[in-house]
Each structure stands twice: as C-alpha cells, then as structure tokens.
Symmetry: D2
C-alpha cells in the first residue's frame, strides 16, 4: 500500500460507510401504488491503510457517493424484498471499491398499512404501523454472502398465564414467588438464513406470526422458557432459517399496594415501571 514502513501503532479492524439513508420508493405503474420506506446503512471493510496513515484518500469512495448509489440502484433493483435489494447493493460496492474486501448493508423497513375507506384498502393512502422489519446482508470478495432478517419494536403483553417461581434465593433476594403476573416485552429478533434466495417476505410474516402465537399459547414459567418455545416454533416451521435470536426486556408491571388504603387488588391495578428491567437474550439453533 505504502512505501514507508508501517508505524509502531497499527490500524486494526476498521470500516466506514453511510448511515441513515432515508430511501422512499413508490411503485406507481398502476393506480394501486406500493411503497418502500427504508433506512439504509452501508458499511465497507477493506485496505484503507493509506487514508489512515498518510491522509491519502485516492482509494476511498466518498460516503456521499454511497448515498447517491443507494438512490440510483433503488430504481431498478428495489422491486421486492429488502433482502434482495441488500444483496444487490453488496454486489455493487464490492465491485466498485478497489480496495474493498467486504460489505455489509443494514436495512430497516418501516411498515405502512393501507387506510381503509368503507372497508376497502385505499389505492394510495397509508398509515404507519408499529414494528420494524430489518435485513442485514453481508458479502465479501470471495463471493460469500449471508442474509439475516429481523423484527424490532413489537410490544406485546399478556395479562395472565405467566409466573416466576422456584428461583434461586440468596442473601439479597427479596422478590416473592408468583404464579400469575402480567408479562410484557418489546420483541427484538434476528435470524440467519441458510440460503441466500427465498421468499423473504413470506418468511418474515411467518416468523412474526409464530412469535406472536407462541406468546399466547402456554403458561410462561419464565421469559427464558418462552424465548426457547418461540425459537423452536420458528425453526420447526421454516427450514430456511438456521438459527434465531431474541432479546426481551422484561417490562415490569408491579401490583400496586392498595392494601394500605383497605382496597383489594387482585392483580388488577398495576404500575408499569420505567425502572430497571430484566433483560433476557439468546439464540435457538438447529442441532449441529
């Protein structure tokens, strides 16, 4: 890269790219418009030593160019799932960057539902839904590619059929056992595909559906057990998924002490606290 010998302090793993590229696309070839509302991040890895050591930018693509590229390629390549668009971007950046060895594209898709008028979905008017769809596509110069998908910000709650009992107690334990509590969490999930082409839209909807249904279908003795059941349900149904990870903040709903005022409170009046929360995370995987 450079004739001068490398310095005593060397560059380790590094990357750069463009974040928060807010791409909006409308498919308007019929009166029934479709929309993609995306937040794209592009990350490049490669041999960027000259820039770091010597201020030589000649092998760096400007991040402004990356932004232009995302919009330009959207015209022809964003026609279906965000996973496929991510793969197209990865291919492009591996090709143009002379010293780029790997590329990652992270996409968040905001979800819009058609407004219903007289029970009919409208042709070009939409309302934003909660819950985000994620894709994380990766590739390198050897031709390797990986596709990961995800869910974020889906807030679920059940008012019964959940408990927390029989846990380990030590000197600092004060929490009593309960076999009936409110369970609430904000679902973050990500999963790895063992293929790089599939009906990604159908699969994403399927994981969302399996996750929500599993949340409802059993007595939950712990967030851990529910996490495992969800992962198992997903892997059983979708062979294209190799493993899945969930992260669950335990949004505590604490029974408010109304006994002090001689008012009965059988799990009816609760305080939804912002305060410290349990956090449970893990992968569920196909047995190797």
């Amino acid at each position: 890269m450079s004739e001068t010998p490398p310095p005593d302090f060397v560059l380790g793993q590094n990357n750069y790219g463009k974040s928060e590229v807010r791409l909006f696309k409308v498919k308007r070839d019929t009166a029934f418009h479709e929309v993609w509302d995306l937040n794209v991040r592009v990350v490049l890895e490669g041999d960027f030593d000259a820039a770091h050591y010597h201020g030589d930018n000649s092998k760096l693509l400007a991040t402004d160019t990356m932004r232009n590229t995302v919009y330009a390629l959207a015209k022809d390549r964003l026609t279906g799932s965000i996973e496929r668009f991510g793969l197209a971007l990865v291919d492009h950046f591996l090709e143009v960057g002379p010293t780029v060895t790997a590329c990652r594209v992270e996409i968040t898709q905001y979800r819009w539902r058609r407004i219903e008028v007289d029970g009919q979905p409208h042709a070009h008017s939409f309302v934003r839904e909660r819950g985000e769809r994620r894709a994380n596509v990766w590739g390198d110069e050897t031709g390797a590619r990986g596709v990961e998908a995800g869910i974020d910000d889906v807030y679920v709650l059940k008012t019964t059929d959940s408990g927390w009992e029989g846990f380990q107690r030590d000197r600092f334990t004060t929490l009593p056992d309960t076999d009936d509590r409110v369970l609430a969490t904000i679902v973050t999930a990500k999963w790895e595909y063992n293929v790089i082409d599939a009906d990604f839209d159908r699969l994403w909807d399927g994981v969302m559906e399996r996750t929500l249904e599993t949340f409802t279908d059993h007595y939950s003795p712990s967030v851990q057990n529910t996490l495992y059941r969800m992962g198992k349900a997903v892997l059983e149904e979708f062979l294209e998924i190799q493993r899945i990870w969930y992260s669950f903040p335990n949004v505590h709903h604490i029974v408010y002490d109304l006994g002090r005022f001689d008012i009965e409170n059988e799990n009816e009046i609760l305080h939804a606290t912002h305060d410290p929360y349990g956090q449970i995370e893990g992968w569920v995987e196909r047995r190797p």
Copy 2:
C-alpha cells in the same frame, strides 16, 4: 394566607402536580380480559403562597399522595372512558385540597389490540398499536368542568393527489410549483366537547375515522386546505364537538435528482428528510 405583608416580588400563575403516573388496569372478571394502559398527569392550581413565600407546606398535598390516589381511585372509577376517569380525579382533588381552586388531569392512553390466533382475537394477549389517545379534563371550585380529547402520533402518507402551486413568490423563493407530490404528516389533534357526558369512546373512534378518510378523499392543494376539510368533516358529523385543532408537520419527501446519472425519476425515488419541516396548525370551529 399569611400575616406578613407580601413581598415586592409576587407569585404569579403557578401550579404543581405529578407527571408520568403509569397506571395499568386489567379487568379480569371474565376470561376475556380488558386493559387500560395510561400515563396520567395531575396538575393543581390554588393558593400556594405560604409554601412559596415562607416554606410552609401545611396546605400542600404531596405529589406522592397524588400518585397513590390515581391508583386507588382507578379501582372503582376507571371502568369506561378515560374522560370519565379524568372527571372523577378532578372532583376528588378539588375536594381534598384545602386551597386548591382548579385541577387539570391529562391522560394519554396507549392502545393495545388483541393478538389474533387462527383469526380469533385472544382473550388475554395484546400487541401495542401506534397512535395515542388523549384526554384533558379540567374543573374548578365553582363546579365548572371541561373535557377535551385528542389524537397523537398517527403517521399518514399519500403518494399522489397532493400538490403545492401558485403560492406567493419573493426574492428568496426557489421552490418550483408541483401538482403531484408525496404528502406525509404525523397527526396531532385536539377537540373540545360542548358537553361533559357523552359516549366518548365512540366519538374518539369517529374523529379518527373522519380524519383518515378525509385525508384520502380529495386532491390536496395545501396542508391548510386539507386541515380545514378534516375539521369540517368532524364538526358536520359530531354535534358534541365544539371545535377541533390539528397540528401537521409537513414531513418532506423530496424527489432525488437521478438525472445526474441519466436515470429517469418520475416521483418514484424520494428522500424522506429529517430536515426543516413546514408546520401547519389551526382550529376549525362552529360559526358563533
């Protein structure tokens, strides 16, 4: 209030209370649970001179007591609309505070939809929806009461049937006319009832429906015109509503210049910017 003469610098309008009381209630008398998920703010006005001037707290209700009270009264008084619960709280605080002359209770209700399993709504499992319901109830010691309701955080977008033309031009105007643009906004609305008892749940749903349908049903020459049409539609249908206010940020979606790359772009590839936004606000009222 106090024997010492008032100082040279006097207390003006003032109030105090408790914010962010996160009340969660489950109605569990049948297997089909119902939930209320509320964020309550209590604000008291009155003669609090002694506390401010002399540090005499004897006529102040602790804000901690206000919190306890919200939870305690929820047991029997939160059985229907948040507007009615707000009125019950207002009545209570006007009664207990010896020097309280007016009380305002602001409630945000987070909305939960039942999870569907095999097409059926589940008995006790829910997922949070976007869009907040608001109530703002007010009363004073003379017995006067007022009820205001609101909508917040409903994000809508239309991909066509909207323009911005023929506006005033001056030295600093650079924006071209357009008769086809993407229109996006996040609806905040509030409206005043001319009654203090009504079917507030039905009315709230009705305002939401009128607002969304009006958004879809016309070519919008400006946010201003759409705002007026929405208010008119609401007032025409619901006689209980005296006036309604909307606040609309204009979330700009800017056509990305792909001509630089010889790529055609007919309103198809856009940039959803976080940058400066227009903001349009106004009341629509019954003619006096």
Copy 3:
C-alpha cells in the same frame, strides 16, 4: 378575502411556518473564529382564509422560502445576540407577507465551549456544552414587539440542605417527612423583558448564574420555596426582566432499603428513579 360567503364551520386561530431550521454560522474574519449553532422556528399568523377554504395559495409564503430567508438574513443580521436576530426576522416576515398580521420566531442556541490546549482556549475547535439558550421573539403589524428568553436542559442536584416536611396528609398519604434528601431537577426557565433592546448576552449569563447560586445558598423546604427564591434573586438584580417562570421536574432520588440486608444506609445509597415525578411550575413577577 373571498366573495363566497363563509361556510358554516369557520377557521379559528391558526398559524403556519418552518421548524427545525438548523442554522450554523462561523465568524471567520480573524483567526479566532466565533460560532452560532441555532435551531430556528418561524411562525406566521394572518389572513389565510383563502388557502383554507378555497385552496388558493396566492397569499401564502412557502415555508421553503422561510428557510431560505433565515439563512440569507443570517449573513448580515446575525452578529450578536439571538434576540436581535429574532427581531430582524420578525421585521422581515411582517413586511413580506401580504396578509401576515403577526410573527413569532423561536430560537434555540446550542452552546459550544472552546477546547483548551495547554490551558489556552483554541482558536477554532469547540466542544458542545449541556444546557440550551432560548429566545422567543414576537411582533405584529401595529409595531408591537416582545422579547422572551429562556434556559433549558440544565440538570442540577444537591446532596443535602433540602427536605420535605409538614405537608398536608390525607387517607392516601404514605410518604414520611424528611429534613435531609437529595434534590435534583432539570431547569427550564423563561422570562419576559420589559425592553426590546438590552445586552441580552450579559442578561442571559446573569440569570443562569443567579439561578445556580440560589440553588446552593439555602435550606430548601420545598421546590416551591426554592422556585420563588430564584425568581426573586433574578428580579432583584435585573430590572430589564418583568417576570420569570420556572418549571421543575422533581427527579426523585429514593433511599434504597438496605436494612433488609443489615446494611446501614444514611442517605448514602439511592435509587435515581425514572418513575412518576413531581412537577412544580410558576411565575415570579414584579408587584404591579
């Protein structure tokens, strides 16, 4: 405005404008650069009936033009305090808008401190400080002008010399008295000037200093009493200020119950809760 008779539902108070105009200016006529980092909002009121009722935009200035104007006027008119820049913008918009009757300009200034190198402030390198400066300037077509200034997001805390005792108790009161607690709040203040020209920079610094010093200089029996003392200190020193308003969330720091583990805790180990907070607000004014 229009030949057609007004409709049954009339436009009430309304306004429109541009928000989040992020203006950054560098004064670079010497090597010792100065910066202004502003967030500007422009709000116009006037006769906008034709736009609302009939979709006639011919008397509306585009909000995009307002943005251009803020940047263009910054060149010559932003040379000192944000209050003066606000007044210049108000004058401009009252003049150009044919149907504009009143204008409000709200400015937030983010504060940058010079980086110190070897104990010397650097000529052109800065680090952002916490705490925002606000100005809110208003004018109308009769020539009336008003200037309000403000402080936001200044987080203060004292570890002793604060209590909460002798307050009113009722059925729902459980909080014990204390004469030693941690007091923490995030200062929001605004004040009205009784002049429209003054050394606004010096005055702003003075209000900040009076507010912080008063926070330290007494035993606080309540947030209310401290609020009044601060307002009094400001009005005593600065004759240009007519009245001042503070809003204080009471960020509760709760002594953690370590007695359960046989550990003493004399106000030493506390929990800084995000949960419901008291909120105390009021004006302190010159006696009329």
Copy 4:
C-alpha cells in the same frame, strides 16, 4: 443438567441480567460531598438449559436480586473508580450463581461538576456535564478478567483546518473536493487495558485530553486520518492501554447556497443537517 435428552432445537449462546440499574451514591463523611451517578447493567452467562427447556428456575438468580446486589455492594465497594466497582460485582456474581460461568458488568457514569459560587466549587451542589464515562468489565470462572473503558456523547467541532479531497470518483460521485470545511462529530471511544489494576480515573482523563487535543492539532484530510492520529496519541502516552476504538459519525455542515440571492458565502452560513451521515470506525492497536 437434565435427564431428558436434549431436543432437536438447541439453545445457543445466551445470557440474562438486569439493565438500567440507576445507582446514586453520596460520600458524605466530610462536608465536601462526592457523588457517583451510575447506570449499571449486569449480564450473566452459564448453564441455563433447564430454565429454557423445562421451565425449571431453580438455578436462576432473579434479576431483582441482581438489582438489590448492586445497591448493597455499592456501600463498601464503590469507593473509587467504576472499573474497580465493576470488578467487585463480577467477582460476586461468579461466586453466587451456581451455574454462572461468565459475567459482564457495563457501567455508564454520568458526570457532575460542582457549581461555582464566587469562584469556589460548592461543597454539595452540582450541575450535570455532557459526555459519559463508560466501563465494561468482564470475568469468567477460570479467573480471567478484562477491563475496557469508554467515552460517549462528546460532541466536537472545528470550523476550519479540515478538508476532503482526492477521493475516488465513479459514476455516482457528485461531491466536489474541498480543502476547508467544518468538521463535526460525536465521539464514541472504547479501549482495552492490558492490566486489571491501574489508576483508571487518571487514565480516563488522559484519554479524553489526548483525544480533544489531537482533534485540534492538525489539518484533517479525512476523518480516517484524524482517527488514527488520536489512537496513536493515546497509545504513545498510556502503556496500560492495548488498543483503542473510535466511532465517528460525520455530522455534515453544508455550505448553504446563497449565490442564488447574490449573497456571498465563504464558508460562513451553513446548514447543520440531520440527514444521512458518514460513519467511520476503527481500532488502533499496538503492533503485535
């Protein structure tokens, strides 16, 4: 762990713990109080199979117990740096959790500066500063320990002595070269110590100082080059640091086009955009 054979879908890497434990400690043995304001996260790894597969909680420590423990241990063990407190927590949780094999404690310290009164720092009154201190301490049952420290949310800006030239150009490049631009970024840094005991407070201050001074002391041809220079400056001075990572969003300040209005603008009037930003990240390490 369990007699039943493992299922087809197995648990992969997993962990659980408590987040957002908001610990506040006051050292009040002299009139000159000291404070620690911390946000603590505890994360445990280990053999939690029984809980996930069978709903058997008997080997799980409740996250509520973790919270109690953080407060209880703060009494005697939080007397100096957050790194040492983190190590004490790691030791504790590795000991009490029967099936815990590794523990990570992440601490954010919010920084408070004494309020100055008449030029003197006050004994017990403080104001919050921008910029967070981080520690990330890790250990496992073999006795291995690791200490990482960090900086977050330090927003810096220079108004000149920065450019971006001579970069690679392709079909989608439109950005012109510049040798004078405003450079702004929000510093996130983390670094690994090659020791587990040191004067962590002094070292943290030193890294902050080296980082800020390096920001000022050269013409920056790219964020990459400035990143490398900062890392080198830190490693040269502090032998206890093995490697350091920076993440720099490039907060773009774009020269506003005033030529359209015949107004000159030599890098003086800029738009601080929220829109897509470059992001540059990398490690600088001692040569192996």
